[in-house]
Each structure stands twice: as structure tokens, then as C-alpha cells.
Symmetry: D2
Subunit: 385 residues, 4 copies
């Protein structure tokens, strides 16, 4: 049996907790596979690692134990009330394998920081006898980095790490460590991660694939089918206004406009592409603590039809971020493991289906992304990539 | 220059008026092509007849003149206020070519009725020197016919027409006349039209294509992208409730539950197919006269995600039926004319993109329908069909 | 200490269970008083019985025990997960005091049926040493009764009971028993209950007050502030369309159109009164089992402003029926007990605030009802009524 | 016949144009009185000046003529298409009486500026032989003034006007001129106007009443009935999120955050007061040019019921700002004229019904405001105020 490691950055957060507990529940038959895209029949030919064969580890700076985090989610109605207790022992075992994450180092990332992260990954693979380890970034949204030499110049990056002054995004420090450890990487947040230009040669050298970025879990998902609908019908979208009310941990992070900026940019990028023209209207992300783990989005689309007729479409999406994101984490771990097995290197545009800001492609329409994804998964194993 | 005839059944109604006036305005440059699908670049290879080359005629039982109908729509804000006056002469010329339609004959359709309809079509083609005439049914929704021998047995149909007792849907009487006149047919309503089983041999004999049925102009259009989205994401839709508030002429017709039945059946059919499973929830069509030419639909979707999390999506669509349907009438006339030119016979599944209840295919997802449509239009002319 | 009995018809249903468990939790300090209108400062002068002094009993035909019912509601997220267990013993004690209700007797209600119900009430009052017992009808919605002599003629009613052929609504049989036992009555459902004309002399004779009918818990509550707003602003409401999606037990009952009829009539009655004119638009009540204990309503209001400008207001209300209704049951029990103490007889228009179809008044606007209610509660005890 | 002057600041804007044209149309019988609050029967005892007796003048810095402005509104569907032409002559006559407004003077308001404004008002009253002139501020939203001596100290204000360095809001310069001319004032915008503390003695001295501020025309109107509903039902509002999409001229002004600030503050102030506690949630005002004269607001209210049950209410309001505001301008002119006639001086809390940020009272609930307003209007004329 091939066991595949899934190393979660932000391993004690809501999404990670739901993914870990969900995988345990699915393996034992205590829960179904609703929301797991790769359990659809289209993915049967892809010979993906089974959900039950995934082994979890991870980094976090929070000290709230995984079991506590699960209980909180159950109280909030995101998880069934009985699940955390039913899998308390397994959660504890995973908890023991978690390691201390990297703090936002104001003075800069040091060589020994990334060495330690890399060592954690290698130790996990060895301890659990894993065929491979996929690293998935689930950490909080970072503020956008200012431009510095070590962001674009690989040599400058190495020198800055040696000097302990590397002002790189923490997500990119994790990506650096993963690449050094030979681990494929999934950037599930809007953070920079492996997109840092200075990491490009390291990606090539380490020969691993990566996927990203910013998991498409709610309002943007709906946009990614509605915008192509307007385009196919030759209806002219005049304004598209979006409001996102978030209560969870990420909402709190996004309350800082500096952090929200990269998320908003990531959300906005695709709309114009799908419509084929610019459009008007605000895009808000608001932190509303009262909402807890729920998020609610309202979109108002004003469009024009034949002979200038003015019409509107509104939608309201109300969901639980963790319930939406967690199964995608499992999907992405399985799919990225497959890409690694098949020798793929660099960004994986085939996985655009899962992301607001897909790496390696400009395609944002869900239907087209779905076709690309399922075609890739239908390709027989022996085929060269 | 090849002139193509478009013969509208219900030629003085809101949709027909908007289509005729819109085509005049587009031809003259007084209006843009927003909402005209076949003006998108994907359709350039298809060498469709130009909008400006379409010549309009039609049947109607209403006696409100086309120009009056246009003025009413302008007052209601569906058409720009100045258009009806600007094209008053051209509307009058089209008006002169309209012919008296077929009343709902309670005692049955007679041979001489269908002969007269057929003669009207032949006279139109000759008078206007048309290459071909596409008949488009835009008449009101009929009640569903009870089962009778002349619906399934071609000989029984001929006998009943001779006897003057053919209890067939009026839409099918029009289809019969069109087939006899060698005209391709578009069933834009949920009516039976060319679907009457007894017409099948006549379709073959006349060698014409037909498309249908029930133009997908609003709420169902949105459904046809949202339902595949839920399916692709493996999210389980638990209930999908729909409410349609209609104010226009068709709304009045649908106030009679007998007439609404076929419309509701047509709308419901696709959802289950797209989701891959049955679902719960009502589907209402309500006549609210106050709304005039506008229609508003509200849909409430309750769905389940990973580990049973309960979430919802709601949308409200507010549009003008005529503004949405009219450009599709032009699109369908052009595309069906092309199919006729290429020798196609029988239902045209390639045009499923335009219909709630597509003939010749079970595909209801918009993205897949779009791909089929554009592939067909990319096929070079010389290709055999 | 004065203990007041609350006798619930439908005592094992969702609303009753929530009311009983909620009162226990409030008394013990395990829960707050959110949603309890009579806990607002305006009610301090009224010297209402304390929530902690209410003692519960009741009839039901269901055999699902109160504790089980509470656990189901907790799993559905309507009640906090820990509450049913925390008050399991108290729920059991209440359960022991419940009595078998009256089945819908197709052949007619018999004298011994109402005698037995009356005896249950007297036995409860005695056993628990209660100052008074308020009977609250929380049973399912009944179909509207056809007209019969025993509905209007008190003598015919007595005769039919003697003969065992009284085709009266079951709710009216309960009201009859309550009146005979000298208990004030709250008709919380749209059922007939004490409104049966043949009961009027008995109301006078027994000298008790009653309140009703049809608790205003959601969409109608919102209507009762929005409609007066439009009226005060002289805006003309052209159509008001309402859709109610219900999943709970009452939803199932209402799936039978015969039962829905009285509910719909009750909801519609007030709108016209508040607007001051007739209006257009459908009112749907749909049973959507998937929604469980939740209910969602969508209202679409089309209105006209100055110089004919057309505008709209839409709202969506999503709530839990039990959580909304249960505190009102406590409020009504307390307020009706006070009316009884003060010697009031017959319908209580002062309690219109709580009802869709208020008895004894035509006032449907919430603000005006609030003013009436709080004025009444500010009146000093010694005042004659 | 008593003719009452209405002097509009911003006389060529959308609201003013709609008010002037609407009054002409109502007077002639060409339009109804929908939206005119003071035409309701409750106001009959108040002996208000008739709409037909209002005479319009005003200031503006725009040079788009009133007739042009009306035509633009008709094209946008806010006014009936035929109205501007039907009243072209009367609009022209009003246009001739308009005067050049006061520019935002960066270096400060000068004595001669306010003198000129005052002279315009006196000249208008004399020319038109008016009993009195009510000045209504309909100008764009200003940015909030920084604190300066001339804002609070009347003497400093006089000195700064003499020196030509008075850095006061333009709205307050208009109020100053109105007070000097003995004209009552209506502050229909969120601007400072007569609220400038330094104007208080002048208000007393001139002996005129004033009303304000910030007309309650849409989303806040709905809030002012929903918030009291939650309070009366003892439901705890946890968050109230509001999004306002505006396309019109005021939207453009509000695109500057400095200007939006006072509007947002004005909108937010009342909510907490009505609920009786603080609440969470953003309040956005966005400029979406595409929307033209329409505005759409979405509110999302998350609230808690009995035993902590979490529920939501959402609403979407879509209206035309001008159609909503214009009849209120007529109402306020009539009511303020009456207050003036009755010798009232200073702020008019009785008119709180019309304002987001009512002067002279903390009452924000619409029902209570309505009661106060109608009581005042029921008071017989001879009564001392």
C-alpha cells in the first residue's frame, strides 16, 4: 500500500482540522464523500491515492490542539456533534506529529529557519514511511510584500537567508523548504508561496510540481459559471458588485486592509477575463465576527440585453468556509501526488478548477477548467507528460 | 445576396415585435448586437445569413398592429422610446405581409386550414424571392393535448384532417403546414409543434430540420450553469425551489393551470439530469399582471457539503422576456437556415443551447451545449452532415 | 408563590418541546431570555407570573417522548446540543404528566371525549396546586370545516356531543373542554378553536378570556412592519408575492391543500388592511422536507412612487419556527393568565401583537399593536377592565 | 390665495427637477399624488399650503438647464417620457428665476457672498408676492469640516465673513443667508447647514424653524421599521451589514471617502438607538456609475432568537432616488411653512419621520415618528406652540 503524506501549513486551523477529521471519518465509513470532487467517476482512471491512504502532519504557530479545534467547529455546527469525540484518539495521534511553524519574522527569515522546516518534512516522510509528501499551505492571508532583491534574484535570496535578513513572505519560506525537501506544494491561500520569482530555478532543480493559488470555495465559484454564461449569451455586464461577509479566522486577518489586498486582487482578476471586457462595481471583503465560521456573499450584476434593455441578477451564497475548502484540500493532495508520480515539474494549470487565481493558465471559467481537469485525469498512466 | 425568410407564428406579440424591430434597428446601425449569440466571433466560420438579410412575415390571431405593439413596448421601457417611430414605415410594410393565424378550433383542425397556412408560406417565399423560409413558433403556451389516434398515427392524422376533426395542437397544425411547404421549423414555445409523433414521417419526407423547444431565456438559463457547478463540485443539492413571477401575455396564458403544466414540465426536466439525482422543492409560475413585460424569478437551493454541512444559494433574476427572447429568435432563424442549407433533416441537438427542453439530446448543461454548438459552427461548409 | 399551569395541546411537538425545555433552562439560568417579549422593561408593571413559575402539562397524539423530541431538535441545531441531556430528568417529569390527546374523529366528537379532556385539565390543576391553567393550542393545522348546525347553534352542539356525532374541529373540542374547566385559552394555530360560533355562550358563561389566532413568527411579522411603512409613505404597493418554504411537521400538514387553505387565508387577511387597498400577487406555502425545522420565506414587493416610478423591495427570512414560536408561547401564557386574573372575558385584542389573524380587532400593523399591548400592560392592577 | 415659495439649493439637480416638474404635473392633474405623505387624510386638519400653491426658485452652480435635466430623467425612466415636453414652458419660467449658487470657496466665504444669497431670496419673495419662502438644501454631500473658531463662535463667524476667510460649509453659508432673510430652512442632505453651532443665536434672532437632516428615502427607511421590530420581539441583532450602490450624481460625490463619511455617520447613528445595543457589520456606500439614477441596497441582518438559535433576514431595495426624495421635498416645504406660520423657532423634531438624522430628537423608529408627526398635524391651528 502506498501511503501519501499531506503536510498542512496551518494544521490546527478550521480548514485543516476539517480536512483531517473528515479524512478519518471517510476512511472509517463514518461520513460520506460529499464535496470530494475526486470521488466522482470521472477520476476513476487517474488511480489517485485513496483518501484512506493519506497521512497528515503539519506546521502551525497556534497552540490550540487539533481536538479542541474540532470541538469548537462541532459546537458551531460545521461538523457533526459526535465526530470529534469519535475520532479523539486519531486526532491526538496526528496532533503529536505536528511541529511548530514559522513566525512572521519581522527582522527576516534565517537559513536555520528554512533548514528546520525542511528537516521536519524529511522526518515526517521517514517516520511514516511515506511514498511522497504534498505540502498544502492553509495559513492566514499575508500582506503583499514590497519589492526586494531577494524576491527575484535566487542568489540574493540565498545570501539573505545566510545573513538572516530575508524579507520574504513566510509562505515562500515554507515553499522554499518544501522544494528543498523534494515535496510538491499546493498554495491554497492567496499568498505568494512558490510564485516568488526567486524560487523558479529551485522548482526546476527540485523537479516537483506545484498548484495554486487561492482555493475557489464560494462566491468566486459561482462567478466562474455565471460570467461565462453572460459572455456566451452576448449579454453585456455593466456592473458586478460583490460583498463578502466573513466571520472566521481568515476574516479577522482580512480586517487589515493590507492583508485583504491580495485576496481582493485574486478575486477580481478572473472576472474581466471571463467577460471579455472591463466592468464596474465594488468588491468588498468584510470581517463580521458574529458570523463565526459561516460566510455570506451577495453579488449584484447589472447587465444589458437586446436594444439596451436593463436587467439584473443577484445571488446570495451562505456557506461554511471549512466545509467547502476541506474536501478540496484532499482533492488537491491526491491530484498533486499524481502529478508528482508522473514526473510533472512546475505549475499545474490542469488544477485551475480549484483556484481563484490559477497558476500557469488564464482560464477562469469553471466549465472549461473542468474539461481540462477531467481530460488530464482520463489520460492513461503510461502517457508521457 | 441571399435573402432568408423568417415566418413568425404570433407575429404581433411582444417577442416577435422586438425581434422584427430589433433586426431593422441592427441593420440600419441604430442599435447594437448585444444579446445576439451568433454575432460572437465563434460563429464567423458558419457563414450564417446576415441579420440584415432576414425578411419577416407571419401569422397572428391578434389584430393589434405591429406598430402599436412596438409603441406599447417602448412605453413599458422594453424598447428605446424613439425606435418605433424611427422604423414606423418598415414596421408597416412587415405588417402588410402578415396573415390571419389559426384559431384554436374546438371542433378540430380541417384540411383547408392547413392548406391555407401552407399557401401563406409559399406565397411569402415567392413574393419576397426568398432562398428559404424558417418558421418560428412564438405563440402562446397551449394546454397539453389528451391522447388521440391522430397524434401518433400519420394515416389517422390525414383522415382526421380530411374529416375536419383533427384534434391536434394548433402548434402542430402550423408545423404540418411548414413541413408541407418545405420550411424548417423552430419551436420556441413549450408547445408540441413538430414533436407530434404523427408528424415524424412527414419530417423525413419533407427533408427539413427543426429545432426546439421552449427558449431558455431566464431562470432556467441560470439553472443550466449552476446545476452543473454543484455536480462538478460533488455538492449534494437537497432541494431546489423556484418561483417565476410573470406579468406579460404569456403570464396570462399560464394563469390557466392547464397551460402552465407543459411549461413547468419543460422547466423541471433538465434539473434532475444535470444534478444526476432527484431533488425536492416546488416550481411555481405565477401571473402577476402588475409586472407588465418584466419577469422576476427567485430560486432557493439548499445543498449539503463535506460532513453534512448545510448551505444555501439564492438568486433573483429580473429581466424583460422580450429583450431576452428576441435576439435568440434571430440566432435560431440563422442557425436553422444554415442546417437547412447543409441538408440536415429532423431535430437539431446542436441547438440545445437555446432550449429548456432540447430536442434530440438529453444534455441540459449550458457549457456542454455551448461547446457542441460552437463546434458545429466551426465545421467547414463542405463537410457532410 | 403562585404557580400557573400551561397546558399544551401538541405537547410533544417542536414548538412545545422548545417552550418547555426553554422555560426550564431560563429558570435555572442555563439560558437567556432572548426572544421573550414579556421580559422587556415595558412589561415590568404588569406583574406577570414568572417564567420559572410556569408548570407544564398537555395533550398529544404523538408517542415520541418529550426527551426524544428535544434530542432531535438539538441534532438539527435548533437547540444547544447539551440542553436536552442537562434537563433530561425535568423533561421526564413533564412527560409523565402528559395525557393522550383527541384523535381526529371521523365519525364525530363524543360527549365522553370532551369530558375526558376536561377531567385531564382539572386533574392537572389539582395535582400541581395551580392558581390557574392556560391552555395553548399548538396542534397541527386542520382543514377548514364545512358548515354544520352544531358549529353555530349551541343547542345543536350539545345534542351532537350527546349523540357522539359532533363534526366540529378537534381544536374546538379542546376549546370546549377548556371553557368547561374554566381555563383561558390561546389559539396559537390557524385552527378554529374558540372561534366556533356555537362556543360563544359558553365563553360568556365560563367567564374566561381567550387569545388568538395563528402566531406571527416570521414572514408575516416582517410584513406587519413593511406594509404600514409603504402606507405611511403614500407609496402604492402594486403586487406583493410571498413564498414560504417549510420543512417541519407543520409543513407536512400543509402539503395537503385543504389544510393550507386556512393558513393562507389567515396570512393574507392583514395585508390589504394595512395597505388600505387591494393588491396583486401569489402567496405560496410549500412543504420542502429537506429544510427540516428551518423555514425560509421570500417576498417580492413591487411598488410605485412619485410620477409612477416603479421600484421593488425583496426580503428573505430564514429562521427556525420553534425558536421563534416557543418564547411567544411563554409570553402568551403569562399575558393570558394576567387577563384571567383581572377578570377579562372573551377575545383579547390587546394581544394582537402576537397573531397573524388577531381576534377582536382589525389592527394588523405591528407598531400599533405594540402600543396597545404595552399600554395595557402599563395599566395598574386595581384598574377595572 | 396664499402662495408659498420653495427655494431649492441645487435647483437643477435630479431631486429638484423631479420636485418642480412633479408639482406642476400634480397641479395640472397630469400626475397623481403617490409618494406625497402630506396628501394622506391624516394631514387634512393641518391646513397645509396646496402643492399647486408652491412657487419654485433656487440656486445652483450647474448650468444644465432645468428642461434638459428633466429630459435626461425621462430618458432614464425616472419620469414619464411625455412630461418634460408637456411642461416645457413652465420649466422654462422656473429656470428664468434660478440664480447662480455659491461655489465651494477654498479661500473662504465672504460677506458679499452671503449678502448676495440673501438678496436673491428677498428678491424672489417680492417678485412672486409670496407669503413666505422655505429654503430646501438639495446640494451635494460635503466633506466634514475641520474644527474652527467661526464654527462655534458667532462673533468669530461674523469677523471671518467680514475678512472673507470664513471656512464654513457652503450649506451653512446658505443657512446663514436664509436665516438673515427670515426664511425657514430644510436640510435635506447630510450637510451641516443650520446645525453649525455658531448659527444658533441667529436662528433665535430670526425666529424661524428648521428641519433636518438627510432625507430618509430608501434603505434607512426600511431599517427604521425593521430595527424596532427586532427590538419589540426581544430578538438580538448580532450583525447588520449594509451595502448601498448608487449611480447618480450624489453617488459620484460620495466616491470621495471624505464626503461619504458624513453620510455614513448619519445612516449609522440611528441603528444602535433603535436596537438598544451596539451591533456589528459594515456599512458601505459605493458609486456604481452604470446604475444611473437607480440605487440598490442590500442589508444582511444576523440575529439570535430563543436559546441562541441563529437566524437571518436579508433585503434588497431597488429604487430611484429622485422619485423617492422629490415628494418628500414637497411634504417638507408644506410642513415647514406651517411651522413658520405657527411661530415655531428652531429645530422641528416633529418632522423626524423624514430624516435619517433627525434634529431635535433621538427617535429613529418610523412608527413612533409617524405618530408624532400626525399628532402635531392634528393639533388645531389656534393652539399655542
Amino acid at each position: 500500500m502506498t501511503r501519501v503524506g499531506v503536510w498542512l501549513i496551518g494544521a490546527r486551523g478550521s480548514v485543516a482540522t476539517t480536512a483531517v477529521l473528515g479524512a478519518l471519518a471517510v476512511r472509517s465509513g463514518a461520513a460520506g464523500r460529499t464535496g470530494c470532487v475526486t470521488e466522482r467517476p470521472e477520476f476513476a482512471p487517474a488511480r489517485l491515492p485513496e483518501i484512506g491512504d493519506l497521512v497528515f502532519g503539519g506546521h502551525d504557530v497556534s497552540e490550540v490542539r487539533l481536538g479542541k479545534s474540532a470541538e469548537r467547529l462541532a459546537r458551531a455546527g460545521v461538523l457533526p456533534a459526535h465526530l470529534p469525540r469519535a475520532f479523539a484518539d486519531e486526532l491526538d495521534r496526528t496532533e503529536h506529529g505536528l511541529r511548530r511553524g514559522l513566525d512572521h519574522a519581522s527582522e527576516g527569515v534565517r537559513r536555520r529557519d528554512v533548514d528546520r522546516l525542511e528537516a521536519d518534512l524529511r522526518e515526517f516522510a521517514e517516520r511514516e514511511a511515506l511514498e511522497r509528501v504534498v505540502v498544502v499551505d492553509l495559513s492566514s492571508t499575508e500582506s503583499r510584500p514590497g519589492v526586494r532583491a531577494e524576491h527575484t534574484d535566487p542568489d540574493a535570496l540565498e545570501a539573505a537567508l545566510d545573513a538572516g535578513t530575508a524579507r520574504i513572505p513566510v509562505s515562500s519560506a515554507y515553499a522554499y523548504a518544501a522544494l528543498r525537501a523534494g515535496c510538491p506544494f499546493v498554495e491554497f491561500t492567496p499568498n505568494t508561496g512558490p510564485r516568488l520569482p526567486a524560487l523558479a530555478p529551485l522548482v526546476e532543480r527540485s523537479g516537483v510540481p506545484w498548484a495554486g493559488s487561492d482555493g475557489k470555495t464560494g462566491e468566486t465559484l459561482v462567478k466562474s459559471v455565471l460570467a461565462p454564461m453572460f459572455a456566451a449569451r452576448a449579454l453585456r455586464v455593466r456592473s458586478w458588485s460583490s460583498v463578502n461577509l466573513l466571520g472566521g479566522g481568515d476574516g479577522a486577518t482580512l480586517a487589515d486592509p493590507a492583508n485583504a489586498e491580495s485576496k481582493i486582487a485574486s478575486k477580481a482578476r478572473g472576472l474581466e477575463h471571463m467577460l471579455g471586457h472591463e466592468t464596474d462595481g465594488p468588491l468588498h471583503i468584510d470581517y463580521v465576527p458574529d458570523l463565526g465560521d459561516a460566510k455570506t456573499a451577495w453579488d449584484h450584476v447589472s447587465f444589458e440585453g437586446f436594444l439596451g434593455a436593463r436587467m439584473t441578477l443577484q445571488f446570495t451564497w451562505s456557506g461554511y468556509d471549512s466545509a467547502l475548502a476541506a474536501p478540496l484540500v484532499l482533492d488537491l493532495a491526491r491530484l498533486t501526488a499524481r502529478a508528482h508520480r508522473r514526473g510533472r515539474v512546475g505549475p499545474l494549470p490542469e488544477l485551475a478548477f480549484f483556484f481563484k487565481d490559477p497558476a500557469g493558465t488564464g482560464e477562469h471559467g469553471l466549465a472549461e477548467q473542468w474539461r481540462t481537469l477531467t481530460s488530464w485525469c482520463a489520460a492513461p498512466e503510461e502517457e508521457a507528460e
